[in-house]
Structures are given as structure tokens and as C-alpha cells.
Symmetry: C2
Subunit: 210 residues, 2 copies
């Protein structure tokens, strides 16, 4: 892999390549040209070549890409093919849905613990996991390997909870709180935001411009 920094836009496209190649693999298609892939994915062939060149030389002039080997390469680049331990902080409706989402589990992302501050929820089970009290969150992190914390607490608690979690050594937060977590990426943490309301507003913008 080259050492130059890969742009966020390229990184965001990688899972999409992975999805499309996964479909080709499951259909038993052995190879594909960047032109064909381009038509399926609605990205220009030159963009595909540029994107993939960030990570090595995969295609071959006149042959195209070997589907399965490119799929496996991107899988490796994305850090898949190993297991990740996830914890959920804030067990509301969205939290429930995330814990039960089978796609994550099949990709190696496993929830190992759930936390909430609501005493009505503590002790209840979701997908075989007992909800623990928020007061045992930090000691759990210290005693267990936690790779990713999934944050579904209320917006007002987001920054404080995130800082505590990262302070205990967790390196990645998947943030659903609709609050931008300030200054945490500068501390070396990886933060991935899913702003559902922002996404819905983008849709209403586009709908009104039709």
C-alpha cells in the first residue's frame, strides 16, 4: 500500500466496492473490467482505477479485475476478516435495532455488552445480553477488550459520555446522537457519525428542488 494519505471520499467509497464485488462473487462471476464495474456502480472507470490505485495494483490491462481477489483485498483494507467487540451505550429503540442487526454480526461486529442509565431497563435482555447500569461502563471497558463503542445516548449526554469512553482506551466511536463530537478526532480517536435527521433533511431539500 502507498503511504500517501487516502482521501475521506475514497475511504467512503470502499465499502461500496466491497458490496458490489461481494454480489459478483456470490453470482460466481470470475472477472470484471473497470468499464463494466463502472456501469454497475455508476462511477467512471477512471475514478475506479484511481480509487483502487491508492491501495496497490489490482487490475491487469486487457483482463480487468479478478473479482474474488479484489473482493478479498478490499475486505483486508477495510479491516474486515477479524472480529470486533462492540458495546452499546444507550439502549433506546435505535439501540435495540442496532444490536439485532444481523448484517453486522455476519461481518464480524459483535455486541458484547449494553449499558443504560435507566433503572427500568437495567437487567433486561436484548439478544441474549443483559443491560448493565451506566455506572459499570468504565470498569467494564477497563476489564474487557472493547474495540468500538456505539453511542445512542441523548444528545445532551453525548460529548461527556464519549470523552469518558475514550479516556478508558476505546479507540472508535460510532455516533448516532445527532451531536458532533468535538475535538475527539484530534486526540487520535476514530469517530463515525450517522446523523439520521441530517439525512432526512437532505432528502426534504432535494424533494423541494424537483
Amino acid at each position: 500500500m502507498n503511504n500517501k494519505k487516502v482521501s475521506t471520499a475514497v475511504i467512503k467509497r470502499l465499502p461500496r466496492y466491497y458490496r458490489y464485488l461481494g454480489e459478483l462473487v456470490s453470482r460466481g462471476i470470475p472477472r470484471i473490467s473497470s468499464k463494466e464495474l463502472s456501469e454497475r456502480m455508476n462511477i467512471t472507470a477512471s475514478q475506479i482505477r484511481q480509487d483502487l490505485n491508492n491501495f496497490g495494483c489490482f487490475g491487469q490491462q486487457g483482463y480487468g479485475y479478478n473479482v474474488e481477489s479484489l473482493y478479498n483485498e478490499i475486505k483486508k483494507i477495510l479491516g474486515l476478516g477479524r472480529n470486533y467487540n462492540l458495546i452499546l451505550v444507550g439502549v433506546g429503540n435505535l439501540g435495540h435495532a442496532l444490536v439485532k442487526y444481523e448484517n453486522f454480526i455476519s461481518s464480524g461486529f459483535n455486541f458484547i455488552a449494553l449499558f443504560d442509565s435507566d433503572s427500568q431497563l437495567i437487567g433486561k435482555e436484548v439478544n441474549g445480553l443483559k443491560i448493565m447500569g451506566a455506572d459499570s461502563l468504565l470498569s467494564f471497558i477497563e476489564k474487557n477488550q472493547v474495540d468500538i463503542a456505539v453511542l445512542t445516548v441523548t444528545k445532551s449526554k453525548a460529548q461527556e459520555v464519549a470523552e469518558k469512553i475514550l479516556g478508558c482506551g476505546v479507540k472508535a466511536i460510532w455516533n448516532f446522537t445527532n451531536k458532533d463530537l468535538q475535538c475527539l478526532e484530534k486526540q487520535g480517536a476514530s469517530i463515525e457519525n450517522v446523523h439520521l435527521s441530517d439525512s432526512l433533511m437532505t432528502l426534504s431539500y432535494n424533494l423541494n428542488r424537483q
Copy 2:
């Protein structure tokens, strides 16, 4: 508003401006310079000025932005301040969570009907709405004003269901199926994708590059 086409990147930042300005409004802050806003939002001041210039002249040299009036302008640009009728197609765990998400309702996005093909689910209630059978989906759309269809069906059904819905006159789809809907935007529909698995894989990529 200028007639030139606004880039997707700018459109995607609009809800974020709206969120930050909303916080300032609720704190009673009457005005803000692009420099101050820049520091809060971690975007350069010149980027903020460029973004907003797409939609009109809002700031004033030496004064900055009037917070409440800019907030209201962006609200209007985003198409907020009116109500949208939403239907949910596919009432799984994620669908449940979306229907119960209070932020959407307070922004004017109201679910008016839920559909599923699972006979075990039909007739059950979520948030006061009875789940209807998938076979009544199209006739419902024909008889009611449906602004946005929220798609949470399985990946394999996504394209077919989306085509049917758009064929009945719905203009916007909020797509959670982890499947890119092909060719639909070319038909004039607005599609907004939320690929949760892609987002999680972007996080695992970044985590492995730390």
C-alpha cells in the same frame, strides 16, 4: 436564490448549519461572525461564506450573521416548516425505531402508514399505527398524499418495491436497505441512502489505520 446548481457536498452541510444555529437560537445568542461559527463547526470561515452564498446574501461585513434570521432561512431552504407524510415499508427492528424517533416528528416528518408482507405483523400497532399488508401499499399511495417512502425491506426486494412506489407517484425514498437503487434518480426521484454497514466499515478502516 441563485439558479446555479448547488453541489451535493454543500447540500449535505446544510442540516449541520441548521443544527448549530438551532443550538445558538436556543441559547439566546443573537449574532455570530463566520469566524466564531467556523471555530464551533470546524469548517473554515471562507467555506461557510461560500456555502451560504449559494443561497443568497446573509451576513453583513463587521456584524456577522443574525442567528435567528439565518436559522429561519436555512430552515426554509431545507424545506422544513411544513409537514411531510411518510410511509414505512418493512416493519423490522430498524423500522420500529424510525417510527418512534421523536426528532423526526418534531421536525414535521410524520409517519401516516406502515406496511409489511409478514402476516404475523399485519394488524399489530406501532406508535398508534396499524401495520397494513404489503398488498394494500399501492392503493394507499394512490388515495393518500405520501411525500416520502422509508424503505426498510430486505435487500433483495429493495429495487422492485422502490420502482412500484415511485410508479405510483411518490417522489422521494429514504433508503435503508443497504442496496443502491439503480436508475431511479434519473427518473426524477430523490433518493437518500443510509448505508449503516458501509458506515461501520468506514469506522473499522479508520480504526485499523490509527
